[in-house]
């Protein structure tokens, strides 16, 4: 195999990994606050469609991105209202979000199927850095959303582990009653991070429709939201490990695509199964490993918080 193919495959790895990374980061933030968000897939679809439509109307992908962030957050607001305020079952609420988002994007997307957009995110080489041998063309000839995702990883990690609001976030996810006693607004924190998670999921969707394959296809997320939920466990709720896991899956995708392109003897249907099967296998290892090392989910994940009544 020559070097160009390796570089092309690894560059495709980053591209395929980025929507997973964005969605995984979003889910990490929500789960750190104790909110399990199974609506990721639906939020991504709504983000992908709304970003696409707005980019089509304004021919500005950045405006599309902003709208995708906002629409992801709006859908997340439904989830937050149901699970935080109304203490609904988080699993069922998340599923409802996914079903709703899938339906809504299918319904509204009918009008833009097959429509080309005038403008979308294209790779921009970063002067200087792109000349680094081998890594330069892989890491620094990407589109702006990829660069944003590079920045988000250390930023969110710093936020979670090194800042006061990050401490509050972790406290709310681990022990909401204690956090409450310390004066942290548990409901507010949960709302905030569920919305941030939704916005990032919307951005992940916009990456698909405005950069990865700049068209609208019904159900174009193809289960990436669910893979991201599994990656959160693999990443043990840590942004840097989320990066690792997302690119690992990006690699699976990129290799699988390359094999299809060179016409390997395995039918494409089986190659298309690999991301899903790989997720299940990784999930098995991640679950047993986290159990063995006693790294658990945030202790209050999935549990509604009920404030003791003061009388």
């Amino acid at each position: 195999m020559n070097l160009d193919i390796v570089i092309a495959t690894l560059s495709a790895t980053i591209k395929a990994g980025t929507p997973l990374l964005l969605a995984t980061l979003g889910e990490i933030m929500a789960e750190r606050a104790g909110i399990l968000n199974l609506g990721l897939e639906g939020m991504m679809l709504v983000g992908a469609l709304s970003g696409f439509i707005v980019c089509f109307l304004t021919s500005n992908p950045w405006v599309g991105l902003l709208v995708a962030l906002a629409s992801g957050a709006i859908i997340a607001l439904i989830h937050a209202a149901l699970t935080v305020t109304l203490r609904a079952n988080q699993v069922v609420s998340g599923l409802a979000v996914t079903l709703f988002g899938t339906g809504l994007s299918g319904f509204l997307g009918k009008m833009v199927i097959g429509v080309p957009i005038p403008n979308y995110f294209t790779p921009i080489a970063i002067p200087g850095l792109v000349n680094i041998p081998f890594l330069g063309p892989i890491l620094f000839r990407q589109d702006p959303l990829v660069y944003l995702s590079y920045l988000l990883v250390p930023l969110l990690a710093f936020w979670i582990y090194r800042t006061r609001p990050g401490l509050h976030l972790r406290a709310v996810g681990e022990n909401p009653a204690a956090a409450d006693a310390l004066g942290v607004n548990v409901y507010g924190v949960r709302y905030l991070y569920t919305l941030i998670g939704g916005a990032l999921a919307g951005m992940a969707g916009a990456y698909l429709s405005l950069a990865y394959t700049p068209v609208w296809i019904e159900n174009m997320t193809a289960g990436r939201g669910w893979i991201a939920i599994a990656l959160v466990i693999f990443a043990t709720w840590d942004p840097f490990k989320a990066l690792l896991g997302s690119y690992l899956f990006g690699l699976v995708d990129a290799v699988q695509f390359r094999l299809q392109a060179v016409g390997v003897a395995v039918p494409s249907f089986f190659l298309n199964m690999t991301p899903y099967l790989a997720t299940i296998i990784v999930l098995i290892f991640a679950t047993t490993e986290t159990a063995r090392r006693r790294i658990g989910a945030p202790a209050a994940l999935g549990l509604p918080y009920e404030r003791e009544e003061k009388s």
Partner: protein, 352 residues
């Protein structure tokens, strides 16, 4: 004075009934708003849906045809939910059941023997059960999150069926379309009264009755309820949780597999790309809406069958059938929002 939530000591039958009913009604109202905003007349659209789904004998029979796989899937999903096992994989289990039944049918193209349909039923049930066993075993032995595994297997199952209908089993006379040849007529489920309603309705009703009694008056049903309500108590009482998880996934997956078998044997009469318009996902809503009661599940499934059929008929006025899935999502949102009233009561409390 302020409005506060107080925990209910016991559940109120009136509220338990009203919350789902009002959820559906309000969801339809919100759906009307969406129809209006997309430039259509909600009245016309809903009349079209209503007459398409329940307006004639034919309409009702079509609604029941759609309700059959919904009932079977929702019964299985509901049984798993009762154990607090989230089987989101009914869609994939349905596909695997359809695939296995199709395999049997295509292996005996001339088959007119009495045993062909029972064999297809067994194959369909077993394939669905096996597909459900994967998340079941992983959950029971390693505590792997069954929501994610069962859901991801849906994608795998659909690709699996696609491989066969686009590849080795494709009808050579099908002009390249992704379907197999028709099954021999010996592999078709009998239908009733000249409609498309097929024997699958009997499977579904039978399954509902069995699950009702299973939950009500068997040891397994008792253990399922205890595990669902208080897993720790179940463990201390010496119940075999591993075994119960496995059994629930076998039944749950098997019923979805049987739904797939009934769909290809009773309605489509061959395997094809896209057998199901998301029956396995709609089943989740039905199970939740019917409060996991098997008998209610049957009735709610008919309502949702009507919603699906009505969704197809609004296409005639230019609306997308995805509207139905939007309304389904909204129903579930409202139901979840309303659920708080089944657990708490609203009351006014004066300032002390």
């Amino acid at each position: 004075m302020s409005l506060v939530l107080e925990k209910r000591e016991s559940s109120s039958p009136l509220v338990n009934f009203l919350v789902p009913v009002l959820s559906v009604l309000f969801a339809l109202l919100l759906g009307a708003l969406i129809i209006y905003l997309s430039g259509f007349d909600p009245g016309v659209a809903y009349m079209e849906m209503l007459s398409g789904a329940f307006g004639s004998g034919y309409a009702i029979s079509e609604t029941i045809v759609k309700a059959i796989p919904l009932m079977l899937c929702a019964l299985g999903v509901g049984l798993a939910f009762k154990t607090v096992l989230w089987n989101i994989g009914a869609e994939g289990q349905l596909y695997m059941g359809a695939w296995a039944a199709g395999w049997v049918a295509l292996s005996f193209p001339q088959g007119q023997s009495w045993w062909l349909i029972p064999l297809m039923m067994i194959a369909g049930f077993l394939a669905g059960a096996l597909w459900g066993l994967v998340p079941g075993i992983l959950k029971a032995s390693l505590n792997v999150n069954e929501i994610i595994t069962s859901l991801l297997l849906n994608y795998v199952a659909i690709l699996w069926v696609d491989y066969f209908v686009y590849g080795p089993w494709k009808d050579p006379k099908g002009y390249g379309f992704p379907f197999t040849p028709f099954f021999g007529e010996g592999a078709w489920l009998p239908t009733f009264f000249g409609t498309r309603v097929h024997l699958g309705i009997v499977f579904a009703l039978f399954a509902a009755i069995i699950i009702y009694f299973l939950l009500k008056s068997t040891r397994l049903g008792y253990e399922i309820r205890v595990i669902g309500e208080n897993p720790r108590a179940a463990k201390y009482a010496g119940m075999n949780i591993f075994r119960n998880i496995i059994i629930v996934f076998i039944i749950s997956g098997g019923l979805a597999g049987l739904a797939g078998m009934a769909e290809v044997s009773g309605v489509i009469h061959r395997l094809q790309h896209a057998i199901s318009p998301g029956y396995g996902y709609t089943a989740i809503i039905i199970a939740w809406l019917s409060r996991l009661n098997p008998i209610t599940t049957v009735l709610v499934a008919i309502l949702f069958g009507g919603l699906l059929v009505g969704g197809f008929s609004v296409r005639s006025i230019g609306l997308s059938e995805s509207l139905v899935y939007v309304i389904q999502g909204i129903i579930l949102f409202l139901l979840l929002a309303g659920d708080i009233l089944t657990r708490y009561r609203l009351s006014w409390r004066g300032r002390s």
